[in-house]
Amino acid sequence: MTNTGFVFDVLIPVGKIVAVILYPMLMTIVMIWLERRVVALMQKRLGPNRVGFQGILQPFADAFKLFLKEDIMQDQADPLLFKVAPVLVMFSSLLAFCFVPLGEPIRIGTYQLTLWIAQSPVGLLLVLGLSSISVFGVIFGGWASNSKYPLMGALRSVVQILSYEIPIGLTVLSVVFFARSIDLVEIVNHQSQAKIWFGFMLPVSFVVFWISAIAETNRAPFDLPEAESELVAGYHTEYSGMKFAFFYIAEYAHMVLVSSLVVIMFFGGWLAPFPNVPAFAFLKVIPGFVWYLVKIMFFLYLYVWIRATLPRYRFDELIRLAWKWLIPLALLNFLVVALIRYIL
């Protein structure tokens, strides 16, 4: 076995795996900082700006504090489930990142470095499926805490995920119809060939998907499972220290994951914008990975912006919104898309 073989066969995959673990963590830290600063600025405040330049080290300080905190498990908790829950949540969101392509393959000599760990022909389904597993962690966490607020948070979470998986599935289908593939890389490649992003072709799909995605990630205005003014902290009320940090990181990782999906499915993944306009051809010089990051940062920003603006939905209205508006809309959209696709 040659030296280069070792590098390509072992080091690079291991490096990628490490990167996939680090990447959501890093994004979480950026995201915590972004969230605190942006929400503060929107509230006429300045937000954390003391620790490091513009407070960029604040999330590290927070994380460090969490690591040092005492890990409390109350007596009435179910010990096994209580411990499994955060791991499950974390595991599912990290695993899903394996299938998310971060950029186009980079050619180093004869070797093609792909910016994803695995390209699966059913990548989209896998990512959606894996991200849905995290709800088990939420249920386990809420149930095992054996306490009122976590239990209610967990119950709300179940209903929410059940309702919002459907519009997500339906809108994803319309994208799949156009891309003729459920391989995430293929979806992006198809947008590259079509020279138009699906977001502009299927605006309804995009809006429905985005609203459902906010609900899936338990973010405002759909943050019912952890509604602070009602359920204290929802399903992770009884968690502290590292276990709490796991839930926290997983939540942000989930947001990053969903933003990645939106970018890949509707906004061309790593593709540079304006592929049709020759004047903007210079934008292609910037590597795809950067474009991808810029795009997901926009959607993460949108998350924070929405959170800073809207009040919280109520439980029954959440369900009503899903079943009376989003699902019919998604179905209609699906039918129209199917028809168009059939005719073309």
């Binding site: 709300r156 405002a220 602070e228 003014s229 800073a308 919280r312 439980f315």
Partner: protein
């Protein structure tokens, strides 16, 4: 729920029975903040009680001062100079603005609009600054004395008040854009926490909550005190009796308060700011009840004097306490999430409930 809970506005405990999310029964448990205020006052002179009343409804200290001071003055049969009465009105209405803006923030936060909490508090800050310049305190102002007001309003302060009033409508408009027309806000408030006019009267509901149920009752208008009859203002009354109407009534009260303050500033008469009060205040024996329209509702003080410099008995009729008892009625048939919204719409302050 509670006593340690982010949205019980203090240390209120609610025993809630729920069927999944549906509220079956709700029972408020009060007393976690009891400080024995009424008993304490029996060992203090009248002048010493006034700063203590700041600690009841700590969101609206001047209103408490006003209620107690008016009760004692009524017992003494004291005539207050017109200028002092006007300054009292100005301070009380500034306090109403501050209280309503703080309420707006709390309420919005309960329903999940985190930014409005900050906006409401920022707007309130202007009025707290005025009170701070006037009397040196922001929350526990101690802004009134028996017999009048301790300080006069000078030109600089009047200009500042006018400026703050001019800035207010724009700020309120932003908050309205974020809430009044917002669909989520309307879903969360319309038709929630219903209480009819008859029930409201039966339960002794007072203040904006009563007026949102269609009962036109405002002590400022109906039993004017401290020269409120001199001012032209409207009492907003809505018929819905839900959280949304209580919110609208308070917003309209903010506008009416600015009207009252402007009129009082325009018409501010010259003259003394303190009536002649002896240094050691001995109140003639007797008993009296006087109530005012505080930001949260009817706030009354019953004072019984035995001719010494200390009250024999003081009983307080606090609006928060009385409004809280209609919470179980309002919550019937609503969902768990609505409890915080309804509780928020009642505008309770635990300092006033537990005394």
């Amino acid at each position: 729920m509670g006593p340690q809970h982010p949205s019980t506005h203090g240390v209120l405990r609610l025993k809630v029975s729920v069927d999944n999310e549906l509220v079956l029964k709700i029972e408020p448990v009060v007393g976690y903040l009891h400080r024995g205020m009424e008993k304490l006052w029996e060992s203090l002179t009248y002048a010493q009680v006034v700063p203590m009343t700041d600690r009841l409804d700590y969101i609206a200290a001047v209103s408490n001062n006003l209620a107690f001071v008016l009760a004692v003055e009524k017992l003494m049969g004291l005539e207050i100079p017109k200028r002092a009465q006007y300054i009292r009105v100005i301070l009380a209405e500034i306090q109403r603005l501050a209280s309503h803006l703080a309420w707006l923030g709390f309420m919005a936060n309960d329903i999940g609009a985190i930014s409005v909490l900050l906006f409401g508090f920022e707007d309130r800050e202007d009025f707290l600054d005025i009170l701070e310049i006037y009397a040196g305190g922001r929350l526990t102002v101690h802004g009134l004395r028996i017999g009048g007001v301790p300080y006069d309003l000078d030109e600089a302060l009047i200009a500042l008040i006018r400026k703050s009033l001019d800035d207010l409508p724009k700020k309120i408009k932003d908050i309205e854009t974020l809430l009044t027309k917002n669909r989520i806000w309307r879903h969360r408030t319309e038709g929630i926490g219903l209480i009819s006019a008859a029930e409201a009267i039966e339960y002794g509901l007072t203040g904006p909550a009563l007026r949102a149920s269609g009962v036109a009752w405002d002590i400022r208008k109906d039993i004017p005190y401290s020269s409120y009859q001199d001012f032209d203002f409207e009492v907003p009354v809505l018929r819905g009796g839900d959280v949304y109407d209580r919110y609208l009534v308070r917003l309209e009260e903010i506008r009416q308060s600015t009207r009252i303050i402007r009129q009082a500033l325009d018409k501010l008469p010259a003259g003394e700011i303190m009536a002649k009060v002896p240094r050691v205040l001995k109140i003639p024996a007797g008993e009296v009840f006087h109530s005012i329209e505080a930001p949260k509702g009817e706030l009354g003080f019953y004072v019984r004097s035995n001719g010494t410099d200390k009250p024999e008995r003081v009983k307080m009729k606090s609006p928060s306490f009385i409004n809280l008892q209609s919470l179980p009625l309002m919550c019937r048939g609503n969902l768990f999430s609505d409890i915080v919204g309804i509780l928020g719409s009642l505008d309770i302050v635990l300092g006033e409930i537990d005394k």
